[in-house]
């Protein structure tokens, strides 16, 4: 933001100014510059018109009974009352995640069976007739890889949610913070993580193995933490997450997986996840 009055403003300064973000006292200096520079004033007015036009984005109106309808739908899905939040959550919310871990096992078993045993033992989870699958070895490899990519992508997304939740958790009240939700999630994710890591080892995919190994160490830390942590313990967990840069790594890796999922299949099963 130096010399803001000596040279023309850039778009980033316009955006910060438009939204009233007061980074490094930008509001005052940009206002002053706009008062003096006609060229920047014209450019800023154009940006204003663009951003103002976004306000015209229509949002469908909801009916008069909307709130009641939402409450009706939400109430039906709320855990039965009379138990604690956590016991209700564990009674309902964990089933899909545990199922996901089981699914990971099926996917990996199918993947390894398909790679190792050839056409005779193709994964059953592919929604194609067996005869059709058996007709193309290259297609089998591509489908197997795609199934695994989707599973790993979901696994990374869940892991990221847990890590972000912990990294952003507020300061403990009354001396401790209940992290049993993340703890259970980490335990469950650990199971799938180990399976994916072993798959990476068996397929010789070094970068995937290294990333999953690092993720596993952090998940292990979380899973072995007490269910209610003190501020100091929470800080230590956060430090583990931050020092390893694991959220960033998971995001980057997840993005790569996403790109590979999106890439058109070339019929080659490839050598990595």
């Amino acid at each position: 933001m130096n010399n803001v009055n000596e040279k023309h403003l850039n778009e980033e300064q316009f955006v910060l100014y438009y939204y009233g973000e007061d980074a490094s006292g930008i509001q005052e200096s940009v206002a002053e510059h706009l008062g003096e520079c006609e060229s920047c004033r014209t450019a800023y007015q154009t940006l204003q018109r663009v951003l103002n036009s976004v306000d015209s984005l229509p949002v469908p109106e909801r009916g008069a009974e909307y709130e009641s309808d939402v409450w009706g739908a939400v109430e039906r899905r709320l855990p039965r009352r009379g138990k604690s939040f956590l016991s209700r959550w564990f009674a309902t919310g964990w089933k899909p995640i545990s199922a996901a871990a089981a699914m990971a096992l099926v996917v990996i078993a199918a993947f390894l069976a398909g790679r190792g045993a050839g056409r005779g033992s193709l994964p059953l989870i592919m929604h194609k007739p067996a005869a059709q699958i058996a007709n193309s070895g290259a297609e089998n490899g591509a489908v197997r890889e795609r199934v695994l990519l989707v599973a790993v992508g979901d696994h990374l997304e869940r892991s990221q949610t847990v890590l972000v939740e912990l990294a952003n958790a507020g300061a403990p009240k009354n001396g401790s913070l209940d992290i049993s939700y993340e703890q259970r999630a980490a335990e469950d994710l650990l199971e799938s993580n180990r399976l994916y890591r072993q798959t990476a080892v068996s397929t010789g995919d070094e970068s995937t193995r290294a990333m999953l190994e690092e993720l596993e160490m952090v998940l292990l830390e979380i899973a072995h933490s007490p269910s209610a942590v003190s501020e100091k313990q929470l800080d230590e967990l956060r430090k583990q997450i931050e020092d390893r840069g694991i959220i960033f790594k998971v995001k980057v890796f997840g993005k790569q997986v996403e790109q590979r999922e999106a890439a058109p299949s070339n019929g080659n099963s490839g050598s990595s996840l």
């Binding site: 663009v50 469908p60 409450w71 209700r88 989707v150």
Partner: protein, 194 residues
Amino acid sequence: MEDSDSVAVARVRSGDGDAYRVLVDRHSRSVFRLAYRMTGNEQDSEDVVQETFLRAYKQLHRWEARSSFGTWLYRIAANYSLDLMRRRKRHGEVTMNDSGPDDDALEMAQALPSADAGPERLLFSNRVQACVTGALNELSQQERTAFVLRHFEGQSIEEISVALGLSGNAAKHSIFRAVQKLRRALEPLVNTQS
């Protein structure tokens, strides 16, 4: 308003589950608006509204009275919308109107005198809306989420970075990129209007 939210939350926490209805009544429309701006799809937005209130209920012990309940709720809604869009993309589903910036709207804008009023102007206004929708659909999920939180919800870059688990710089650059793309798509249109 926030005091009332705190009271309702305290009642729910103490076992009065029906008190949660107060919070649903108060915030469901605004959560829907946020979800729609993020997903561009009515059905998905309804899914986001319900899931947001369910998740908030399960995590209610985490909410701190010193922060706004609405902002906390929007954070849950924004993250769920983002997850939903990513899952959809991963599984190859298309949810948002897939059109890009609307070339027809641009042509129409160039053909109309700026002071024109009446049906043509109304039609043009509809096309501008379509163009804005198309331009928003061109943003990545992260850019769209960050932009919606900044532009429509008035959250600061710092709040957005916390909500989305991004660094301050990453949140800021998501917004910059979003604005840059929107400007590229909409500037010819608004210039003609002016």
